[in-house]
């Protein structure tokens, strides 16, 4: 496709005199160079915070509060990691965070996949109206429902358990239903019709036609639920009061408030907190990009 534009321009340029052509090539080279320069500069800026974090986590405390900074700490103070790990029950925090994410993934995938199937594929009275309701709840800031829910969950005795953070995920999430519905709409109806002619009911169609094709989209929902849960701060902050239930985010904030001055240890635990997300990102980048694109492109 590039060639068409370049060929036409090229032909036009060749028709003009040689000098103009040289000028054109020079200008093109300069603009290419500028593009790479900007990209490299931007990349350096966007990568730097990670490098600074890792580098600080490997310094001795005496190398932190000095200027100019020690760029390459020697020897690398790996000891910061075990030392920081000992101060708080990080293993418990980790386990809680993983548990929370796992339950939320199961709940979200289950409730959202079937609802999206209903909205995308089945006809029932009031469907379009209900879908409109779903879209408008996406606009609703969570703060409006936060206080009543807190009062009710307290009455149910759910505070300081994972229940207020997990059970709602089994009752659907507007955003993910929307995302999955958008995806289901792209699956050709002929497949459903063929299955119907073969005598499949709606459950069979869902299980054997739609679900296998929806694996990529369900993957996207899984990944987004994971990162959303891992990053979630306000939910655990409101509902979890006992240390035994803390998540990584809450633990890190606590750590920040108590030993904030020991930058190497704080950064070490920051790295530990980010690591699962970064690893997941590298393994699933393609899916994540696909998911972002899917939600962003359609009106």
């Amino acid at each position: 496709m590039t060639t068409t534009i370049e060929q036409t321009t090229e032909i036009r340029k060749q028709q003009v005199d040689k000098g103009a052509h040289g000028l054109y090539l020079a200008r093109k080279a300069i603009s290419r160079g500028l593009i790479y320069l900007l990209l490299l500069l931007g990349s350096a800026l966007y990568l730097f915070p990670f490098l600074w974090m890792i580098q600080t986590s490997l310094k001795d405390l005496s190398q932190v509060y000095i200027w100019p900074p020690v760029w390459f700490p020697k020897p690398l103070q790996w000891i910061n990691y075990p030392e920081a790990w000992e101060i708080l029950p990080w293993a418990t925090f980790y386990l809680n965070t993983v548990k929370l994410a796992a339950i939320r993934i199961v709940g979200t995938v289950f409730s959202c996949t079937i609802a999206a199937y209903g909205f995308a594929r089945l006809r029932f009275p009031g469907r379009d109206f209900l879908f409109l309701v779903l879209l408008s709840t996406m606009m609703l800031p969570g703060q409006v429902t936060m206080i009543p829910l807190y009062i009710w969950f307290t009455k149910l005795g759910w505070v300081n358990t994972l229940k207020p953070l997990t059970i709602p995920s089994f009752l659907g999430s507007a955003f993910f239903i929307f995302l999955l519905r958008q995806f289901f709409m792209t699956i050709p109806h002929e497949l459903d019709d063929a299955a119907k002619i073969d005598g499949c009911g709606f459950i069979r169609i869902f299980a054997s036609v739609i679900l296998p094709l929806a694996v990529p989209a369900i993957g996207v929902v899984t990944i987004f639920t994971f990162t959303g849960s891992w990053n979630d701060f306000m939910g655990p902050l409101i509902y979890l009061s006992g240390i035994e239930n803390y998540t990584i985010a809450i633990g890190l904030q606590w750590f920040n408030q108590s030993i904030g001055a020991h930058m190497p240890r704080l950064m070490a635990m920051g790295v530990v907190a980010l690591l699962p997300q970064i690893l997941l990102f590298f393994f699933t980048q393609k899916r994540m990009i696909q998911g972002v694109t899917l939600t962003g492109m359609k009106q």
């Binding site: 990349s43 915070p49 609802a115 209903g118 709602p168 492109m297």
Partner: protein, 312 residues
């Protein structure tokens, strides 16, 4: 659908029962969501309005005070307007800058560059890792004496950098700068949008003698407006709810300079246990977000270009 109804008369009984069956399954599939929307959204919304007319606290004492909470917030409270002003500043500065930056990166990446996947990864990664760890990290990056940001400012010969989070004027700009680290999501959306712009449009304009800038303003930008519109709405809604950064980095300080609407709401609700007042705050916030969303929506007719019909 039309084809179906034409078939209907010949085998109407089977068709009808199939239709009923389909409807029943329809309701079954959306049942969890429907229950959720009632229990977790609609009832709480109703109860939240109700609460906002009361002086309600954690111990369960409730006294009906009519519109007093709203009156207090709109006319008497001195902190709430500050929180709203800060949040508005954050939203209306960080979102447009973010959109321009992510569009710029997307346009650069769309120039058939080598190493596209690597560049894309680098710009996208930070947006995945939001939260406490990132807030803690940026507080350290902004350290007035030993942080690399002020180091860079000094290195560029711009004098000593500001005392970011210690300064009333610079704390919010610091959070806005930090928020630009997370533009990866919209950058990806824009990149996909750019790749969807038909090459034929560029070819045609090129034959008509349009230059690079002309093509950018008259083809790329108009074709990208639906995507920009979507990102703008989501960005405004999200940024009006900013909380974690202020809570972790500054606690709302110094001197309330980074106090956001949701942070104040959180403090009133879960530290002061003024549930009635905090509910009124939530509704005011909701109405503000709604007004801005509707304004953007209304304005879209003037600047958003839809190619052909809207897809169903």
């Amino acid at each position: 659908m039309a084809a179906k109804s034409q078939l209907a008369p010949s085998r109407s009984r089977r068709y009808l029962s199939q239709k009923t069956g389909e409807a029943i399954w329809g309701y079954v599939t959306i049942a969890p969501w429907l229950i959720g929307v009632l229990l977790l959204t609609i009832f709480p919304m109703a109860y939240s309005i109700y609460l906002s007319f009361f002086d309600a606290d954690f111990l369960g004492t409730m006294e009906f005070i009519g519109l007093d909470n709203y009156k207090r917030l709109l006319f008497e409270d001195t902190t709430w307007p500050i929180a709203l002003r800060n949040t508005a500043f954050y939203a209306f500065v960080s979102v447009p800058i973010g959109l321009v930056l992510s569009l710029l990166v997307a346009v650069l990446l769309n120039q058939k560059v080598r190493g596209l996947a690597l560049f894309r990864t680098i710009f996208y990664l930070p947006s995945v890792v939001q939260g406490v760890a990132v807030a803690v990290l940026w507080r350290w990056l902004f350290h007035p004496w030993y942080g690399p940001i002020n180091g860079l400012i000094q290195f560029l010969g711009l004098g000593a950098g500001p005392d970011w989070f210690g300064s009333q004027d610079w704390a919010m700009p610091a959070i806005i700068i930090m928020s630009q680290w997370g533009i990866g999501g919209s950058m990806i959306i824009f990149l996909a949008g750019l790749q969807d712009v038909p090459q034929s449009l560029y070819d045609a304009s090129s034959i008509d003698g349009a230059g690079t800038m002309g093509r950018f303003w008259h083809i790329t930008i108009p074709m990208m407006t639906p995507t920009l519109f979507f990102s703008l709405i989501m960005g405004i809604i999200g940024s009006w709810q900013m909380f974690t950064q202020s809570y972790v980095m500054t606690g709302g300080g110094p001197n309330n300079a980074t106090l956001t609407a949701v942070l104040l709401l959180y403090q009133r609700a879960f530290q002061g246990f003024h549930f009635g007042l905090a509910s009124a705050m939530a509704w005011i916030l909701f109405i503000i977000i709604l007004i801005f969303t509707l304004l953007i929506l209304k304005s879209s007719a003037a600047w958003v270009y839809y190619e052909g019909d809207i897809r169903k």
